[in-house]
Amino acid sequence: MECSGFCPPRSDAFPVGLRVLVVDDDPTWLKILEKMLKKCSYEVTTCGLAREALDLLRERKDGFDIVISDVNMPDMDGFKLLERVGIELDLPVIMMSVDGETSRVMKGVQHGACDYLLKPIRMKELKNIWQHVFRKRIHEVKETDSDCLEEIQIMSGSLSEFANDYYSFSMGDICSAKKRRKDAENKHDDREYSDISSIKKPRVVWTVDLHQKFVKAVNQIGFDKVGPKKILDLMGVPWLTRENVASHLQKYRLYLSRLQKGGELEDTSFAGVMGADVHPGDTADNIFLQSPTKVQHNDVRNANCGTSGKKRPVQNNDEKVHDGGKKEFDLVPVTEQMKPLRRDVLDSKKRSNQCLSSGNSFQLLSSDVPPTDPFASQYLWTAEYPQIQCKQESKSHLHLENKFNLSPKIQQNTRVNTTPASSYFSFRPANKKPDDLADLEVQGIREAPQGASKVDLFTIQSKSHLTSSQQYGQIPSPAWSIMNGSSAADHILLDDQLAQRNIVVSSGSDFSSKDTESLNHVLQGVHQPINVGIQEGQSFECIDPELLAAVTPLYVSLKFDYEYSFDSMEYPVLDQSLFIV
């Protein structure tokens, strides 16, 4: 296979220099297509094997604009390649075949093909392939930006504190669960993604820090009006390109939209409910982390659900402070132990929701849980599951960490979502104090950026969002205020074995987390963002281990990419800051 050298984008006018990768096992066609594409002034790379093509694509993530592949490849089904490319690399793919049967074409489209060409292919057909690249780009930039920025700057300052314990993970390590097609192929085979983990060289490493900047920028602009250029400008990261941001944004959006889809628990239930009072019986079965396995305490640290002004909801260290009502919450990094979350999550979803009792804390949000209260706080969920003392549940709840044997990469994802409009996720603490929560939801969360706006609060604006799918048992009202004294929530995305995830736990408002840093522990290993609802004044109680277990697998199965293949929301929350692509 000839694979020509890396071709950086040319400076000529688009589409000149479009970088095309042609994959076909027929050498004759490969030669012809190469010549045709060259005549179109494109930069062509040819590959005779699907696997080689994938390797090449992964190696040079930014090296290609579009892929053209034959459907019948000897080493891998063309549709599968198509899927992979679409998911992992977010590149437009055109399929080719001598077979033009409707069913085949349909299959191609279903698998995400931008186009399906019949052989023999004419040069004029290839001339226009740039439209697919163009289309993709404009979709990415769809939102027009709008206005202000403000807080972003403020926040950037404070958020920078969250740098400790950041672990950056590379895109390559993140399995992108991006799935374009609608077909309910929720059966994401987690193993499938394991291949992706072999990706070694990401395009851009979206560190927690970077992602936070991104999220802040997005929040500032207003989610609906956001656009890559605006974000890029706000982020102020010189080496970052608009394209990087655009693709990151796309993934982020997908992630969010998945969350919003809510509905079935399915795999999403990322409601990281950690919790203080996990009520198994609660209908709000929102457990983000639902895994069949029990969560173990081991590394679960206590997080401070700082309702009562306790600090840091999440601690990455072994602080275990249990106050009446205040618990520290440490998320245990999720490690490889996290298994196919998704399935587990599903199962766990069925479990009772572990709602946190009103006094507490985290509640795992799962899609099952009907939103009870507005999420006032977001919980940070570090990879190390906090030791949540379940009031009602057994301590087993705290065995989160088992589930998440996160590698010590913890990423903190803190974002402050102060705009009600930005309805990313709102963790809704299923607390019984609606007023508190209500307050938190919109306003409380606004408070987040108070002093420490280090944390992003994601509030799900509409109940229809996550809330519908996730319910937080009781979410203590601003329990966590990651930000000092404010209801900031940290998102911690738990990363899975790929260690790409951050567990984001948003903490409730009241987290007077002076130690915001601790809040922002994002465990890389944690796969799932766990939304823990903390009720005001209460700390996490305990997390139902089952919940955690559920979440863990969910996390694991989550590809870091925002695009999760599950339809259901996976991360009810999160991910805003720790979205590392």
Partner: protein, 144 residues
């Protein structure tokens, strides 16, 4: 024969290939791709085709000798082969390929074998014709 005559001769040869149904529009596409950067592009592609497809034919030959016939495999192979044939515009050969696949679908082993032999014949005829043609092309090029 002077150059004009040779050119005319070449043109006639070419026309005949099309008129007699040996080649189709795809061949013209190949010719259009030929340029200064690749002055012998068409010939190169045809050579590549014959080299690569020989392998496929061999596989199919072997598969046809088995008993019972593996129609799925045969169909699959022929599908591949058809794709290849379409690359140079081998019209008659392609026609036989479609026939073959039809027999595969009908699980008509005898039909398959018969058609396969027919296909090989057309395949060989075209090969010969194109060899002569390209030889002539080169000669004419030398004259220029």
């Amino acid at each position: 024969m002077d150059r004009n005559q040779m050119n005319r001769q070449l043109a006639n040869m070419r026309k005949a290939l099309f008129d007699q149904g040996y080649l189709d529009e795809q061949f013209v596409q190949l010719e259009e791709l030929q340029d200064d950067a690749n002055p012998n592009f068409v010939e190169e592609v045809v050579t590549l085709f014959y080299r690569d497809s020989a392998r496929l034919i061999q596989t199919m030959d072997q598969t046809l000798e088995r008993n019972p016939l593996d129609f799925a495999k045969l169909d699959n192979n022929m599908h591949q082969f058809t794709g290849s044939c379409s690359s140079i515009g081998a019209k008659k050969v392609k026609h036989e390929c479609s026939q073959f696949r039809e027999y595969c679908r009908q699980r008509n082993g005898e039909g398959c074998r018969r058609t396969f032999q027919q296909m090989k014949k057309e395949y060989a005829i075209l090969k010969k014709k194109l060899e002569v043609y390209f030889q002539y092309v080169r000669q004419v090029a030398l004259l220029k």
